[in-house]
Point group: C2
Chain length 349, copies 2
């Protein structure tokens, strides 16, 4: 086996690792769309579902009569953003006190706004979003240097040991979740200042470079993540300094060492897609070196869009009851069909 | 509607246009995997299928007893590469003489090697590949200039009016299909010389930048295409010159004018993904400008891998007859299920 083949299999295995739910989990378990105001905002697994069944006044667990799919609907009687938020939070605080979910032990009194079609439907404790498979969006900055002798070098950060998630793991130079009321580039600039003290005269060189999407599952729950990626070329003499206590170290690595670092268990699995995408876009991982190149690129951009399509499926089923395009495009159509067979009659009426 | 929203919808509509088969065609028609030596190398639509039925000695049209899916298999009795090639070519020459398919009117006596798992199974007249939905791979070079006053500018080529496909349309500076025995970067360098007379001292700056994948359908047939993309920064004073008669003009456009050109009917639809990907990677189309940004990026990297999975599905069905993961990942699972219902009993025994 040539070194190239070794490299390929390691990269593909890694791409499969941060897509473990997209490639396998999604087919193994009974999952249902989480629907708020008729729009799918998440996916719920059976291990979570069985605890939500205790709150029939909050969650309506049924089969949709139109699509014949099992779904979990937030009580449509809730009047507005505030009532939806309060009712859901009551349940989350109960579940937290019962100590059932590792995810809720990371409760941080920090809200994540759950939206559909750019409309805010409710806000949810950030730590709870993996239980509901809510799509998360973040920004990442690839900080790099063109070194005269070492070539392309990449700045990585080591997360603080006190961080709630992935403590002590290596990560992209700068990253963070989108916050309510902030634009995407605006968030990147804010995080660049907080996490790495990047001054405004350097951050003005920030280049938007696309996004990566993947679907990861861990003990905490589901991570259907999309990361907006930015590249930032830095001068040779610049050294990032953390300003918010969330980073314990920064290190400048050559492209080659960076690839090796990403393969180690010391690297945050869900940050690997950003680094791999960067190394592909900058010609350090090429199709001539890696036989599975196209498959890896596909796994950096999985069609999350096609997994969160309950509303489309519902509308389609009204137009053409015989045919649900979602069934064939949607990654978990088989499961939906299974659910409707199991629960359709039981719950439909 | 803000100008941003207009921009977004135009970009999304374009991304849907070059994915018309992925998003819609694939769900509308009876399509079957084309299987050679147990491996899926293509997809065949019913309009082609009905003519292949006249050649039962060459094509075995049946439902797979394992997967219960309809499929078209090249007669497994054919001994080797040469026999498979000759037998298939006989049929293609007949179909061409009957003048049934517009695609075959573009016959060019140029072979395309049909492979699976890096093994060559047969060669097929290039013009015929869309009838069999064979995955095609090509290279594209984004030639660009950093203009002191105009900013990022992009070189486009206008295809010769005598070209078999897309005559007279605007296209990327350099592009071409992968040829037997040539590496990917090697092909890009060869095409750069033939199409734009790029000298070796400039082509050495070629940067591999990933790939785009999409699934387009036209009167010619199916185009499940993957394009390996390269970026090449060119000096201000360099002007591409065609050397092989396949290009009638080159033009340097600003990023803004390039976006507008891509939207016109004068631009080759299947080359649009490469330009859009380039403009996204270089920060000229950003998530803050385009609400559908993530959806557009997904449509530049559709999971073709998951559509050509007959072999995996077959192996899975032996392991777990109750469950075919392909059904839920595979874009046309619903159709496969339909086929097996229609033809399973009729043809299975």
């Amino acid at each position: 086996m040539s070194s190239t083949e070794v490299k390929l299999s390691r990269l593909l295995i890694l791409a499969q690792k941060f897509n473990n739910f997209y490639l396998s989990g999604i087919h193994k378990c009974d999952i249902r769309p989480f629907v708020v105001e008729g729009k799918q905002v998440g996916l719920i697994k059976s291990d979570v579902l069985k605890h939500l069944e205790k709150y029939p006044e909050v969650f309506c667990i049924r089969a949709c009569e139109q699509t014949k799919q099992g779904l979990v609907e937030l009580n449509p009687a809730f009047r507005d953003y505030n009532e939806r938020t309060e009712q859901l939070e009551k349940v989350l605080r109960n579940l937290r006190s019962e100590g059932l979910f590792p995810a809720l032990q990371g409760w941080r009194d920090e809200y994540f706004e759950v939206k559909a079609d750019c409309r805010a439907l409710l806000k949810m404790e950030r730590a709870a979003t993996p239980l509901f498979g809510v799509r998360k969006y973040g920004v990442d900055i690839n900080g790099y240097v063109r070194h005269p002798t070492l070539g392309l070098c990449i700045w990585l950060q080591q997360r603080s040991n006190t961080k709630e998630t992935w403590p002590g793991k290596w990560d992209n130079m700068v990253g963070g979740g989108l916050s309510v009321g902030f634009g995407i580039k605006e968030t990147a600039i804010k995080e660049a200042a907080e996490e790495a003290s990047i001054p405004s005269d350097l951050v003005k060189n920030l280049v938007s470079a696309g996004c990566v999407s993947f679907y990861f599952e861990s003990r905490q729950g589901l991570f259907p993540n999309t990361e907006y990626v930015f590249d930032l070329e830095l001068p040779l003499d610049f050294v990032p300094q953390n300003a918010d206590g969330e980073v314990q170290a920064f290190e400048l690595l050559t492209a080659k060492d960076c690839v090796e670092r990403v393969f180690t268990s010391d690297f945050k699995t869900t940050s690997a897609p950003v680094v791999i995408d960067f190394l592909i876009r900058h010609g350090h991982i090429t199709a001539d070196d890696v036989v599975d190149f196209t498959q890896i690129v596909e796994l950096l951009h999985v069609p999350l869009q096609s997994i969160y399509t309950y509303k489309t499926r519902f509308e389609q089923s009204i137009k053409q009851p015989q045919f649900l395009p979602g069934d064939s495009k949607n990654c978990n159509c088989a499961i939906f069909q299974k659910i409707s067979m199991e629960n359709g009659h039981k719950k439909a009426n």
